[in-house]
């Protein structure tokens, strides 16, 4: 039975008009699967901020000028809460993979033969998840035995965590640019997303860019607790996830309309 369906589908995907010929059950399962993966985006954002803000208390970040003892004291004061927050964040960032897949699957449809922007996204989201998991792993080690090690070590691990959080924006920028170019360059017969989303993605990539400046300053707007070093990249990234989640949701639902009608026939 399933072999018959898949055979049918292979045939359907051959011609670009697509989909109308596929079985309604399959279409519905594809729609649900995409919606589920797309919802992982907002879930990631919500749980990430619950962990980072409410449990870890890392927003706003500590000052890069803080002494080792001050940093160690921050960990020691709320150790359990910080640990719970780290675990929450560490789990939630993995959802970037499923959300990234929902996004990449949409662009794949528009570049079947040479899916270069899709491959770029997959590579970047893979690296992105790894970097994000490492970020919280580093803070986890800092929160492992801050009572037993020299405060300098705790501060260094804390710094490494912030650098993993902010400094390595490049793969995320490339991810955003790949999505933006896929949208703006779409000449296939398939819808992808409204063109403004393409420009919006490029803008978010620009907003991420100044995070690398945290390497050069320990004070002011460009430091890792500053307006340009921290807040701008943070807002650009999470705004991107949220806006694209909404648009993606609408696009997935729009796919369903002709299918529902086809189902009725």
């Amino acid at each position: 039975m399933s072999a018959v369906i898949s055979k049918k589908l292979d045939g359907a995907s051959e011609h670009s008009g697509c989909c109308a010929a596929a079985a309604p059950e399959y279409q519905e399962s594809m729609r649900r699967r995409q919606l589920l993966c797309n919802w992982s985006g907002p879930f990631f954002v919500v749980f990430f901020f619950i962990g980072l803000v409410l449990f870890m208390g890392f927003v706003p970040p500590q000052s890069p000028l803080a002494s080792s003892q001050q940093i160690a004291d921050i960990y020691l004061a709320d150790l359990t809460s910080i640990r719970i927050g780290i675990v929450l964040c560490s789990y939630s960032v993995a959802l970037m993979a499923t959300w990234g897949a929902a996004l990449a699957a949409r662009t794949l449809r528009t570049e079947r033969e040479f899916p270069v922007y899709t491959y770029t996204q997959i590579a970047c989201v893979g690296v992105g998840v790894m970097v994000a998991v490492f970020c919280f792993l580093t803070w986890a080690v800092a929160a492992f035995r801050p009572d037993d090690v020299h405060p300098d070590i705790t501060r260094m691990l804390n710094d490494v965590g912030w650098f993993l959080f902010l400094f390595d924006v490049a793969p995320f920028m490339v991810w955003m640019v790949a999505v933006g170019l896929a949208i703006l360059g779409n000449r296939s017969s398939h819808r992808l997303m409204p063109r403004w989303v393409g420009y919006f993605s490029l803008w978010c990539a620009v907003g991420e860019a100044p995070a690398v400046l945290i390497l050069f300053f320990k004070d002011g707007a460009f430091a890792f607790n500053g307006l340009v070093g921290f807040w701008l990249p943070l807002v650009a990234f999470f705004l991107w996830i949220m806006v694209l989640s909404v648009v993606l949701h609408q696009e997935i639902q729009r796919d369903a309309v002709p299918q529902a009608m086809a189902g009725r026939d």
Binding site: R195, W196, G198, Y199, F200, W203, G207, F216, G220, F222
Partner: protein
Amino acid sequence: MLARMNRPSPGSGRIELHLPGEVGIWVFVLGDMAIFALFFAAYMVDRSVAVELYNASQQALNRTFGVINTLLLLTSSLFVVSGVSALRAGRARVAQRLLLGAMLCGLGFAVAKVVEYGEKLGQDITPYTNGFYMYYFMLTGIHFLHLTIGMGVLVLMFRAARQRQVTDEGLAFVECGATYWHMVDLLWIVLFPLLYFVR
């Protein structure tokens, strides 16, 4: 150019509003200008707590460079405006020459900026010298990055103007690119008095 261009639509007395390029580019342009507005706000706030220091440091800036650069960018914008209208009128050859002029102005800006940075660094003034110079180097540096991207965009616009048949799509791209270039110009027009003149 930045404003809507009014064009009578053929066959009717009504005026059709024409937004250069496409609506989407304005998401990028306004978004990017919002980021710069944030930079400017941060600068003004930090400046307000150390006015003396900022004013004293400002004295050391070479305004000649600033004025030359402003003139260069304004001229380049003029070239781009004329280039786009020439292309719209079907005079691709003229458009190419005008875009080339814009690129030369942009290049001039880049050279002047590098010389200016060199002069500062020669006097041992770096982004770490004080808060004012941090903003001076960072804001002009980020603007420089925008200019570099803009130079790339101008090259692509030039290529679009060299197509044997300029399509609607090509024209829309040229208009989007022009909009971006004007933004680079506009940001400098705000950046320049803010860093060189605000007292």
